[in-house]
């Protein structure tokens, strides 16, 4: 049945608006400023900025070395064309972009070893490195301080008609064409599962990894992509000016890109272009003002500092915020449409929750999870000391012990968040040696955290989608032309989870505004979104009211049907009520193990744990 899907129509609105703007704007520039060249320059920065916005605005990776790729792309193409190595300008452009991307694989591999502040420092250092390389050792090919003049433009030949992209208007057409293609591609990425993962990395990198996504792989992918955009920007600069300037490599280029992106609005795709428009027009205007003159850059620096301080969303981000405050129709519309999806799936809703096991084709082992003599030390403290556990399929196994007994460490080891010093952990009989938390999740083991590890700026539904996509798509998949919201199986899992966790009313509410109880439910939901066969729960009842506790206890009991659960909990009533088997830890080693009856009757446990008072 074909039916008018208005959500689908909304999807293409930005592209349509962009096409219209790119058609009308040059006439406005030509009329009022006498030339379209300024707009061409803005769009070159815009192409450069689209990639940087995916890198910084989406993923939160602040690179101060983008000039390295901008310059590399530009100079490779300029060299190929000016030296006469290649005749086809299109081919030279493509090679320039490819070389810039290849260079970024190397830089990204090193820079992404560290996060945050270090990443900014290392990318900046590599930016400077390439500037020096261009200037001295490679000067034979790059022209050193003189750059490369005489870069030719590409042309298209249709029959006998030869159209060369030289001169103001043709250059604009070329650059605008690339900008439009780049914009459409960037929109695809943002709306794809890859875009979802990138946003997740920005908000909570650790949890993203724990939900089965290969964080380093995605970061490297977006870094290379940003470099390809940067290379494309550099290529266009050389062709537009028919000259490739060495300062394309300068720190100032990277800095200007950062400033323009922040002023324009990071995370909005068009922010960098808007920022470039502001920067370039202000520069021209301020220099005309006699009182300012050579202080124009000081004033722009001030504008930048003020906008970072008071307008962190930038111009475009602030407009979007105001827009959605005065006209929130779209959001409400979208959420009601999605609620219908959920209602239709009511019959199937319990299926994904209860059938967690994935058939692996291996001989099923009676043990779902097994730990063989695992140990972990921090400095001189043996946090976990020679502990073995064996959980049959479907068992709810509780771990208790006084504070500092090593319960949380044991759970971290089981989840593969940390490596054991010695010993083995087997999941369904398979030794996961060397696996990380991402691999553990992919193999059907998920953990819910004692302290909520959520994605605070996303809605409940978006949070759950990150977990559901993790198991559906595997560690790393660059399916950028898929829509994140159109994996029907994923959406079914999400709808069922929202229903099961009674989060229907807040499904489309941003998580940071939710009450604690709902966040706690979602914390459990994230772990469940990957349909794990083994679930590790770290104090799921912590901080909840008695009513909420009852709800979670009921939930845990229903989850334990067809699923293996390890439960660390301080609420003894809950533990003795829920668990089939209890392990007592003390100072890192196993003190006792048995059924609730055996444990409550064990004098050793009473002495160590219950304070020595023998109860009747």
């Amino acid at each position: 049945m074909v039916e008018w899907d208005s959500r689908r129509a909304w999807r293409w609105l930005p592209e349509l608006s962009m096409a219209i703007a790119l058609t009308i704007l040059p006439f406005a520039f030509d009329t009022w400023l006498g030339s379209v060249d300024l707009l061409t320059r803005i769009l070159i920065w815009g192409v450069f900025g689209l990639g940087f916005d995916l890198l910084f605005g989406r993923t939160g990776l602040l690179s101060f070395g983008q000039a390295a790729f901008y310059g590399t792309g530009g100079f490779v193409t300029a060299y190929l064309l000016t030296s006469g190595t290649l005749n086809s300008a299109w081919l030279a452009m493509a090679i320039g972009i490819v070389i810039a991307s290849v260079f970024s694989v190397f830089v990204g591999f090193l820079a992404l070893r560290r996060v945050g502040i270090y990443f900014a420092m290392i990318t900046l250092a590599f930016g400077e490195l390439s500037y020096f390389l261009e200037n001295s050792p490679l000067a034979k090919w790059t022209g050193g301080e003189n750059g490369l003049p005489g870069v030719g433009a590409p042309s298209i030949r249709i029959g006998e008609f030869d159209y060369s992209f030289t001169g103001s208007w043709p250059s604009y057409q070329l650059v605008a064409g690339f900008f439009f293609i780049g914009f459409v591609l960037a929109r695809f990425i943002v709306l794809s599962p890859v875009g979802v993962v990138l946003t997740a990395i920005r908000q909570n990198q650790q949890r993203t990894a724990a939900l089965g996504h290969d964080v380093r792989g995605y970061k490297l992918a977006v870094f290379v992509l940003a470099a390809a955009y940067a290379g494309c920007g550099g290529v266009l600069l050389g062709i537009f000016q028919s000259y490739m300037p060495p300062d394309a490599f300068a720190l100032e280029t990277s800095g200007q890109l950062v400033i323009q992106t922040v002023i324009g609005g990071a995370g909005t795709l068009i922010g960098p272009a808007v920022g470039a428009a502001i920067w370039l027009t202000l520069r021209d205007l301020l220099q005309e003002v006699p009182a300012i003159g050579d202080l124009w850059k000081f004033v722009l620096g001030l504008v930048f500092v003020v906008s970072v301080t008071f307008m962190p969303n930038g111009v475009v981000g602030t407009i979007i915020k105001l827009w959605s405050r005065f006209w929130p129709r779209r959001g409400a519309f979208a959420s009601s449409a999605r609620a219908d999806d959920g209602a239709n799936l009511n019959e199937t809703r319990l299926a994904p929750l209860t059938s967690g096991l994935r058939s692996t084709g291996m001989t099923p082992s009676p043990l779902a999870l097994e730990a063989r003599r695992i140990s972990k030390s921090y400095g001189g403290i043996r946090a976990v000391d020679d502990v073995s556990l064996a959980l049959p399929e479907g068992q709810l196994h509780a771990i208790i012990g006084p504070n500092g007994a090593g319960k949380s460490t044991l759970l971290r080891l089981l989840a593969h968040e940390e490596m054991c010093d010695s010993g083995h952990i087997l999941l369904h009989g398979v030794d996961l040696a060397g696996a990380d938390v991402t691999a553990a999740f992919q193999n059907g083991m998920a953990k819910s955290y004692q302290i909520n590890q959520l994605f605070p700026q996303l809605t409940v539904r978006q949070n759950l989608r990150i977990g559901a996509l993790g198991r559906q798509r595997g560690r790393l998949r660059l399916d950028v032309f898929q829509s994140a919201e159109r994996f029907s199986e994923t959406e079914a899992i999400i709808a069922a989870l929202i229903n099961e966790l009674s989060l229907d009313e807040c499904a489309d509410i941003v998580v940071s505004t939710l009450p604690y109880g709902a966040k706690r439910q979602l914390e459990l939901g994230l772990a469940l979104a990957g349909r794990p066969s083994v679930l590790l729960l770290d104090e799921p009842l912590a901080g909840l009211s008695p009513v909420e506790r009852d709800g979670v206890k009921r939930l845990v009991r229903s989850l334990s049907k067809g699923r293996t659960i390890v439960l660390v909990e301080h609420d003894m009533d809950a533990v003795f009520e829920l668990a089939a088997c209890i392990t007592v830890l003390q100072e890192g080693h196993k003190l006792a193990e048995g059924t609730p009856e055996e444990i409550s009757g064990d004098p050793k446990v009473r002495e160590a744990y219950l304070g020595g008072t023998v109860m009747p």
Binding site: L62, L110, A120, A125, E128, S136, G255, F298, L302, T309
Partner: protein, 291 residues
């Protein structure tokens, strides 16, 4: 092949440059370790120190006074920056702190460019720094030896402050775990103010000391900022000894590579940084804890 005297003279240059880098980088590193703020304006503060020396020496023929005034001015600049801007950023993401100090650095450079013009200024050698030292088989400029002495003394004072005083104890504890220090009843925020000012002061003194050796221009701080990043990556975050050792390593690499082929000097330090990142990502003296 360079002769032995050439080699030794470049090795000395390496120590002089390296000790300056160590001084600037230790300020940067301590601010980074304690406040968690990467000060992108650090290079500009170095430049302000050099210009302060230039101004003072224009009025008063005492290099010691120029050093003292540069220290004082940058202490104040640090104080005003921390109180007026940085402290509003402690709760914001690290990226925002980088952005705001980056913008601040640009403003400083442009303000100086407006006042003094883009051309380079010369700062004369102090009267007690003229001439050469005869090391027997090679001659070496006296002032460069004195730079090593001045910086070594300052680094030693910095060391005493960090490792022999209560303030230093709090700073070092704050690098390990700022929340715990706060919980133990010490006002970390007040320590932040002191640390930021001290870091700025270190950059300022380095700038004033370096001024007679180089062209004093508005963007002279930029290469130093980048080299200090390399020093901190090599030496390790928040580590005082890392900054000192890293500074000397970088200074020596720059100087000794110049002996063979100056065009590869810059590339060589990035090669070493790459090597450290591969073999020991946290830096030579870095601790695992904070990223």
């Amino acid at each position: 092949m360079p002769t032995l005297p050439q080699f030794l003279s470049q090795a000395f240059n390496g120590i002089a440059l390296g000790s300056l880098l160590a001084l600037i980088a230790s300020g940067l590193s301590i601010i980074l370790g304690t406040l968690g703020v990467l000060n992108f304006a650090h290079g500009s503060m170095f430049m302000l120190g050099a210009y302060t020396a230039f101004v003072v020496l224009g009025h008063w023929d005492s290099f010691a006074a120029a050093l003292a005034v540069a220290a004082l001015v940058l202490l104040l600049v640090g104080l005003v920056t921390e109180r007026g801007l940085i402290r509003f950023y402690y709760r914001r993401p690290a990226e925002d702190q980088i952005l705001v100090t980056f913008g601040l650095g640009i403003m400083m450079v442009e303000a100086v460019r407006h006042v003094f013009g883009p051309l380079s200024q010369r700062v004369p050698l102090p009267s007690w720094g003229q001439g050469v030292i005869n090391f027997g088989f090679f001659l070496y400029p006296l002032y460069r030896v004195e730079v090593i002495g001045i910086v070594a003394a300052l680094l030693f004072a910095f060391y005493l402050l960090l490792y022999r005083t209560r303030l230093g104890l709090v700073v070092r504890a704050g690098i390990e775990d700022p929340l715990m220090v706060e919980l133990l009843g010490t006002h970390v925020r007040r320590v932040f103010m002191v640390v930021f000012s001290l870091g700025a002061m270190a950059a300022g003194i380095a700038g004033a000391t370096y001024a007679p050796l180089a062209a004093v221009i508005p963007n002279m701080g930029e290469p130093f900022l980048v080299q200090c990043f390399v020093v901190v990556v090599i030496g390790g975050l928040g580590s005082f000894f890392g900054a000192v050792v890293g500074g000397l390593i970088v200074g020596e690499i720059l100087s000794l590579t110049t002996l063979f082929d100056p065009s590869y000097a810059q590339a060589a330090i990035y090669a070493v940084m790459t090597l450290v990142l591969i073999i020991r990502p946290r830096g030579l003296f870095g601790t695992m804890g904070r990223e």
